[in-house]
């Protein structure tokens, strides 16, 4: 019998009775062939790999993380509560010592869901990693968390949620936004005024193969993680960089994904995208499971894999090397200190226009954050969309300083009293008060 080197908790929830629509890539049988492969391989008979049922996330878990307009119940379905609950279960297994590593192989995904939610964008309603991370911080108090997003699409939702948080490092590897949805994730997107350098984007050219991805891990991701020193590393394990994926243009392989996971060695992995349900997912998921458990994955090779056919061009390798240098330089630039030129106690504002491709919603936001040298800074987002009137969300962030807390309480009271907003949401992490009204 095979024995796992690391105890792995696997939360497998394929949601066989849920789809966005019958032929949408995010549909019932997305994990059907993955289940076939995992069962046929006898994954759950490997000593040390245990399958668990997901938890069901509570409304409070969502309210702690998102401003849902008009409210939580209106923007989610049971399926989202279960996939977020799957991620939470993965976190609990690791945090409570029942597993060394955990993989939430769940759907629907979440990394395009932003702080404010009016509907579904990029197949996502709520950000299941963010809901999980906030659960971890609320219940176990960990502060420094790194997310490495290896989905082919830029995780603009996760980036948005952690844009201001200096204690959550978000690194995304993805196909260059000039060639793929959502069209963001460029090198100069580095985080808000309180968290510069804690968002790192590594946009890769189409046709990047395993060589390129693993180069980025070795030469950018691992060195940056080494500097950041996280308590917990989380992998947003999208699988749409695969050479057979129908909606992207990359040339990554199952073996490459397994090696990437082996090098990164994340505490928790959460499935994101990946829509080559027959040619890629069964093998990529198997590779990730084996790598996380520390079991030999050398035999995980797709039936139609030809290394030479998907080898990357030399010019791509050179381009990637340059991008990596710049990403590491960007991180280092702000790693030491970046506080001297900032107007502490002032608000900085940005305006955002957001399109929800799945639901066809247009949203406009004015986001203000207090510049703070002690915490992520109190946050205020005014939002209006094609489906909801002007609303507001105020957040007193996790581990907020007392000034940001007091300002947050005042801002929320003023917002309520002003009568300007159809909905006023409040996330108060200090007093654990979450108002969804």
């Amino acid at each position: 019998m095979i024995e796992a080197k690391r105890k792995l908790g696997l939360i497998f929830f394929p949601a066989f009775d849920w789809a966005i629509s019958p032929t949408h890539p995010e549909r019932e049988e997305r994990l059907l062939y993955t289940q076939d492969q995992l069962w046929e391989e006898g994954i759950f008979d490997i000593k040390g790999i245990v399958e668990y049922k997901p938890d069901i996330a509570s409304e409070e878990d969502i309210k702690r993380t998102h401003f849902c307009i008009p409210n939580v119940a209106a923007v989610i379905t049971q399926s989202h509560m279960i996939s977020a609950g799957g991620a939470i279960k993965a976190a609990r297994l690791v945090m409570e010592g029942n597993a060394d590593r955990a993989f939430a192989l769940v759907r629907p995904p979440g990394h395009h869901a932003m702080k404010v939610v009016h509907g579904n964008r990029g197949f996502c309603n709520i950000n299941i990693e963010a809901v999980m991370i906030e659960y971890i911080r609320e219940h176990y108090g960990h502060r420094r968390i790194a997310i490495v997003d290896t989905d082919c699409h830029h995780g603009d939702g996760t980036q948005d949620i952690y844009w201001h948080d200096p204690n959550v490092l978000y690194i995304s590897l993805h196909q260059d936004g000039r060639t793929l949805y959502p069209g963001s994730g460029f090198l100069d997107e580095l985080g808000g005024p309180n968290a510069l350098g804690k968002t790192i984007n590594i946009p890769l050219p189409p046709m990047t193969s395993s060589e390129g991805f693993l180069y980025v891990i070795d030469n950018a991701v691992l060195p940056i993680l080494e500097m950041f020193q996280p308590d917990i590393v989380i992998n947003s394990a999208g699988q749409d960089n695969h050479y057979t994926d129908p909606i992207t243009n990359m040339n990554f392989s199952a073996q490459g994904y397994a090696i990437l996971n082996d090098k990164l060695n994340p505490h928790i992995a959460v499935l994101e995208g990946g829509y080559s349900i027959q040619g890629a997912l069964p093998y990529v998921n198997l590779g990730i499971v084996l790598a996380m458990a520390g079991v030999d994955y050398s035999g995980v090779v797709e039936p139609d894999y030809h290394e030479r056919a998907i080898r990357q061009d030399k010019s791509i390798s050179e381009y990637i090397a340059k991008i990596c240098d710049e990403a590491v330089r960007n991180y280092k630039r702000f790693h030491e200190s970046f506080s001297h030129h900032r107007a502490i106690g002032q608000f900085q504002t940005r305006v955002k226009n957001i399109y929800y491709d799945t639901d066809g919603i247009r949203e406009k936001q004015v986001e203000s954050v207090m510049i703070c040298d002690e915490c992520a800074g109190v946050l205020k987002i005014e939002t209006v969309s094609s489906v909801n009137p002007l609303s507001v969300g105020i957040e007193i962030p996790f581990a907020a300083c007392s000034r940001c807390r007091d300002v947050g309480v005042k801002l929320f009271r003023e917002a309520k009293e002003s009568g300007k907003y159809a909905y006023a949401k409040f996330i108060n992490r200090i007093d654990r008060e979450y108002i969804d009204s």
Partner: protein, 560 residues
């Protein structure tokens, strides 16, 4: 009239049952070196105690539950097998090596049953030659995803032309699980000769006694298969003992809701679970020795606590079991046991109580605690251990992963409202069990031979799985050897009808007549196969079973 015979670890029990209850019983000490003789002796006792001509005439069936294969496997006394496997992408098959004659061959089939690469004939020939050179006579052929496409396993079988027997992996079960398929196919060939010799001897015995009714073998899932079928799938005979007890209790007691059944023996207590009055089935397959298998089984757990479990006292701590050194001191044993502790506290009056008292007092003196304290601690340890094992099993049942939102939200939670106990010491244990479980505990009459009654009354069970891929136009029901083409418009409704018809006709072909109402569709799902953004076919999976059941119930004649 039905005859059940349960070859157990200590005793071989036999009963003859008819609509009016027990007709005759027999109990002989099991001779592990000669099981045939134990069976023979039990038969003789039965027919001595009852007018044998009448029994022979009225007997509808004989069901045998035997530890023959299990013991051979656990003790490693099995025949060498040539195991030939092919795998393809995934975990390397070398990790599943079972014994010396294990040969991974190149060639692979994918999850939809498409041949990815041909089986390498040259490697196959070399493997078989190597086996022949070492005198190997039985083989197992197992390939990955053979339940979707058995052609590679068939090629291996054809290449083993002069073998005595070849087990094909896909004929064991329609379930996925390559490593389990390898292990199960291996075990099947490893006990094939032994089991067939046993079957020959049984048949010869019965002929000599002029008994001509059908003979079935009891399986771990609480059902039976005809002896002729068991000759091809002897692995199905493993670990049927706990199932015999579970089926016994379901014929002796009217179990309506969720319940726990305990079979308390001398050495062990077997736990099984009922949901809505039916015994639960293990989702994957039973484990025998070090081998997880695809053999269908009731959801049972065995723990090392029984009436004869020895009491051990070390550093003020008192433990019971898992060792049994012999009978309790009350019955002339050398070491104080759980039963002796109960005798000491006057909870029961079993055998020679004075011997129990003396033994407990001696052990208490050695452990420097009072005899009363020792007895109380021993009993508490034993019943706490049983309760904890039941709780752990229920937790496992209720935390079983599910794969749909519907099951996640609406899924059934098993919450027992009563406990059923059987086996030798169960009557004596009743008050203590009631106290521990805080539930009503029922002990039926005839509790000491419930296992043999279960064996006698168990009916045939069967399970088949259908997989249809309408894009490829392929349909398979692997364990009955159906691999056919299907139409593009084949639907989940067609699948359900086909399952029922195939199951009925297959069972008829092996001499079992059942009606459509005995067949249950356990699950059925249909998924779209989408190419590009268009639906190009359907992937249909469905499973049907003849569930475990007893021929007749005896509870109207019973106090429980």
């Amino acid at each position: 009239m039905w005859l059940g015979l349960d070859v157990g670890g200590t005793h071989t029990d036999a009963v003859v049952v008819d609509e009016n209850g027990i007709v005759a019983t027999a109990k002989v000490v099991t001779d592990h070196a000669n099981l045939i003789q134990s069976v023979q002796k039990a038969f003789e006792q039965i027919f001595r105690s009852y007018p044998s001509d009448e029994v022979k005439k009225k007997l509808k069936r004989i069901n045998l539950s035997t530890t023959l294969s299990t013991n051979a496997i656990v003790e490693g006394k099995t025949e060498n097998v040539g195991v030939i496997v092919s795998s393809g992408p995934g975990i390397h098959p070398s990790h599943f090596k079972i014994e010396q004659h294990y040969f991974p061959i190149s060639g692979s089939i994918d999850h939809r049953g498409k041949e990815i690469s041909k089986l390498n004939a040259e490697e196959l020939r070399k493997a078989i030659d190597a086996c022949k050179k070492d005198g190997i006579k039985v083989f197992s052929a197992v390939t990955k995803f053979s339940t979707r496409n058995p052609s590679h396993e068939e090629q291996i079988r054809d290449a083993c032309a002069d073998a005595d027997f070849v087990t094909l992996g896909h004929r064991i079960s329609g379930k996925l699980g390559f490593p389990r398929r390898i292990g199960t196919a291996y075990l099947n060939s490893a006990v094939w000769r032994l089991f067939n010799a046993f079957a020959d001897a049984i048949e010869k015995n019965l002929v000599s006694m002029e008994i001509h009714c059908p003979v079935h073998i009891l399986k771990a899932d609480g059902g039976t298969i005809p002896l002729a079928e068991a000759r091809k799938l002897p692995v199905e005979s493993i670990l049927s003992g706990p199932a015999a007890s579970t089926m016994g209790i379901s014929s002796l007691c009217r179990i309506a809701g969720d319940a726990v059944a305990l079979d308390i023996g001398g050495t062990t207590t077997d736990i099984s679970v009922f949901a809505d009055g039916e015994p639960l089935i293990e989702p994957h397959g039973i484990t025998v020795g070090k081998f997880p298998t695809l053999v269908r089984s009731l959801y049972t757990r065995s723990i090392g606590i029984g009436g004869d479990s020895a009491i051990v006292a070390i550093d003020g701590k008192v433990q019971v079991g898992p060792t049994r050194y012999g009978p309790s001191m009350a019955e002339g044993g050398d070491v104080p046991t759980l039963l002796d502790a109960m005798n000491y506290l006057k909870k029961i009056s079993h055998g020679d109580v004075d011997l129990s008292v003396r033994g407990i007092e001696r052990l208490a003196k050695e452990a420097r605690i009072s005899a009363k304290q020792l007895s109380l601690m021993a009993i508490d340890f034993a019943f706490t251990t049983i309760k904890e094992a039941v709780d752990a099993l229920l937790k496992e049942v209720n935390e079983k992963p599910v794969y749909t939102i519907h099951e996640m939200i609406e899924g059934k939670v098993v919450q027992p409202t009563s406990v059923y106990a059987m086996g030798g010491p169960s009557r004596a244990f009743l008050p203590l069990l009631e106290e521990k479980f805080a539930l009503p505990v029922h002990v039926p009459n005839n509790y000491a031979v419930a296992n043999a009654i279960g064996a006698a009354l168990a009916r045939t069970t069967y399970e088949i799985e259908l997989h249809a891929d309408t894009e490829r136009g392929k349909l398979s029901i692997p364990n009955i050897g159906k691999f056919e083409s299907c139409e593009r418009n084949y639907s989940i409704e067609n699948a359900k009808i086909d399952l029922i018809n195939h199951l009925l006709s297959h069972l008829q072909s092996i001499g079992i007549s059942i009606t459509e109402s005995d067949v249950q569709i356990v699950e059925a799902s249909s998924f779209n196969i989408v190419s590009g953004f268009y639906t190009s076919g359907k992937n249909i999976r469905a499973r049907a079973q003849v569930k475990p059941a007893v021929e007749i119930t005896l509870y109207s004649r019973n106090n429980a």
